[in-house]
Symmetry: C2
Subunit: 388 residues, 2 copies
């Protein structure tokens, strides 16, 4: 009998998350390379997954570049601040970002139940004094907090905090949402930071006796975020586009002098990318489309399903394969059989299958009709040949 390993999510071949603090080596890739070279675009996305932030350099210092970048891998996500938005000092600002004031560390849009995964900020004009950007690795700091004060971590990952945003911009809006400051997965690992004091509501719907412990926990998290050890400061130059994981990286800026003229101007946008969320299980959301990784096709022959022989073209789909648990190898379609090829745990646990070779393989059959599904073939030696 074929021994099946647990199907827990394995991504050993994808870039592991790399935590950072003030020692961040901010990854840089030229904007034009991303736009014209698929390999660079793929490197950008993988680095975004790994580090959470990538600086694209050398874009034209004018509005509109973010549309091009968005369309390169999907499209921009519309919010009630518009498809793109201009971060500059404005009269009657409807958002603290539209002033010259300091912005404390925050994530964008916790007031939306599904906050934007990836954010772009394109520097068009930069002020001479002040206006430096600050970023911090929220997941890294959350881990620190968990070690340092597990109870504080527990409070921040379980207390529902009220967020609100009311105003007029792309349309008029009056939005409210409940979020935990630190969203965790079933293992208690941080998967999304939802922290924005500018939109945290004056309403805070928790029992009075929980208020002080909550704020004590938040203060501790806030102190860690702002510690010199954790925060990284840099200054955007005109033509720079910083791209970052808004679920992981908190951002802020230092204040700068206000005047009669606009001395600093960033254009911002969110990415709605057409891509594999499951490619990015660590933050699980960014929906980055996988680029430049051609499907590899194989022929397979030999696995028995009852009396039928599974002969067909398994669809091996690039990195997608690496996502699967060890026991699943690929997908096969042919001669009336649609299913998943299972291989014993002795097989390589990740990576592309060999160019050609015999594998111990079974086929698990499924498809659109539940009644016809669920059969698992007896294991047999099958031959895999790379054909494309």
């Amino acid at each position: 009998m074929l021994k099946q390993q647990s199907a827990s999510f394995s991504i050993s071949s994808l870039p592991e998350r790399q935590y950072w603090g003030s020692d961040l080596q901010l990854p840089e890739i030229p904007f034009e390379e991303i736009m014209h070279d698929d390999e660079s675009a793929c490197k950008w996305l993988c680095t975004l997954k790994k580090v959470g932030i990538v600086l694209l350099t050398g874009a034209a210092p004018k509005q509109g570049e973010l549309f091009k970048l968005g369309h390169r891998i999907g499209f921009l996500r519309l919010t009630f601040y518009g498809p793109t938005w201009q971060v500059q000092d404005k009269a009657d600002a409807n958002n603290v970002a539209y002033t010259t004031g300091k912005l404390c560390f925050h994530t964008d849009y916790p007031v939306l139940q599904h906050p934007p995964g990836v954010q772009f900020l394109h520097c068009i004009k930069q002020t001479a004094a002040g206006g430096d950007s600050e970023v911090v690795d929220g997941f890294h700091v959350a881990n620190k907090l968990k070690k340092q004060n597990p109870q504080a971590y527990q409070i921040l990952s379980s207390t529902a905090v009220d967020y609100t945003d009311v105003g007029v911009d792309y349309c008029d809006f009056a939005v409210q949402c409940k979020q935990r400051i630190i969203d965790v997965d079933s293992r208690g690992q941080a998967v999304r930071i939802n922290y924005n004091n500018a939109t945290r509501d004056t309403v805070f719907d928790i029992p009075a006796e929980e208020v002080r412990p909550f704020y004590a926990a938040l203060k501790e998290f806030d102190n860690l975020l702002n510690s010199a050890e954790h925060k990284f400061t840099y200054k955007l130059k005109p033509g720079d586009i910083v791209t970052f994981d808004n679920w992981r990286v908190l951002h802020g800026r230092q204040s700068y002098p206000s005047g009669s003229e606009v001395t600093r101007h960033l254009e911002g946008a969110y990415l709605e990318a057409m891509c594999q969320p499951c490619l990015l299980p660590a933050s699980g959301h960014s929906e980055l489309r996988l680029l430049a990784i051609p499907a590899i096709t194989y022929e397979m022959e030999g696995a028995q399903l009852g009396s039928a022989v599974a002969k067909g073209k398994p669809r091996f789909r690039g990195i997608y394969l690496h996502q699967m648990s060890y026991s699943t190898y690929g997908c096969i379609t042919g001669e009336g059989i649609t299913g998943v090829i299972l291989v014993p745990s002795a097989e390589p646990q990740s990576g592309m299958p060999q160019e050609r070779g015999a594998v111990q393989a079974a086929v698990q059959v499924h498809g659109q009709d539940p009644a016809r599904c669920g059969q698992v073939s007896t294991p047999a030696s099958a031959t895999i040949t790379r054909t494309g």
Copy 2:
């Protein structure tokens, strides 16, 4: 000491979810009423929350009406099938919906990690024979399954199913996602159905021994969805716009004869609405903007915070108040105090506060600076006066 009730989410004043089967009385509201009367628009949204489906009648049978409807309460959500999409028989269809074939019950877009909450389908042209619409209350059926076969419910609410969609439309796309067929909240209640066999992947990354039990469970759920007792059939007329909760209601259609001409044409769209997700805690996602409910302002005087007297204008924000737990009454800002008014559990548990009267009230202070927050005043008799 002021006794605090648990802050669990209470919405007794919001419309309760109303389950339905083949006996559904499909709620109807004239399209023009929604567009021009705030009260009708609010009724529409509340009914959408309660029943999960509302038919708007009398729209012009031409493309573009959905843009108007979307802008009435927010805007349309762009996906890779475009801002709106034309459901009609197409050559080289990239989606089963774009054929004349039967569509089994499904929810849209489980391949997106955050599937659209509200869907619009606007009938522009209707075929004489066939093409009837079918809907079923997914939450109602999920509850039935839970009673009938708790283990099947457990399997469907815990097994991660692979979804995929690859093609070209508004942009080229290659999307993958893992979803549970029935997403549940912490109490095990269904909060989102993710079921679409047309985009369920041929890859199914679970251990082989779990495959048969999964399909047995899915078959049972599928049978319940399709039982005469649960499904409701109706036929859209040109000018009808069906609006429904895509997290709750599964939809399908009967096949119709194909021909050289397009005999049936629906325009579809998803809503990205600027609204209170917390208004709709049962499905928690639809982000419907609250319309036509003016803020009511009150004066409050008398609650003590240390030596300060909380005197100011509490912001009572319409229905939002009803969302709060019993212990929270409203929000107050004034004389250096920002906080939440707490009232004892003897107070009415929901509904607007009285026009004027004395209440036992404390103030819970918070704001943007964690260090200054967390104080709770001693309870005191306070006077509330409605001022606007």
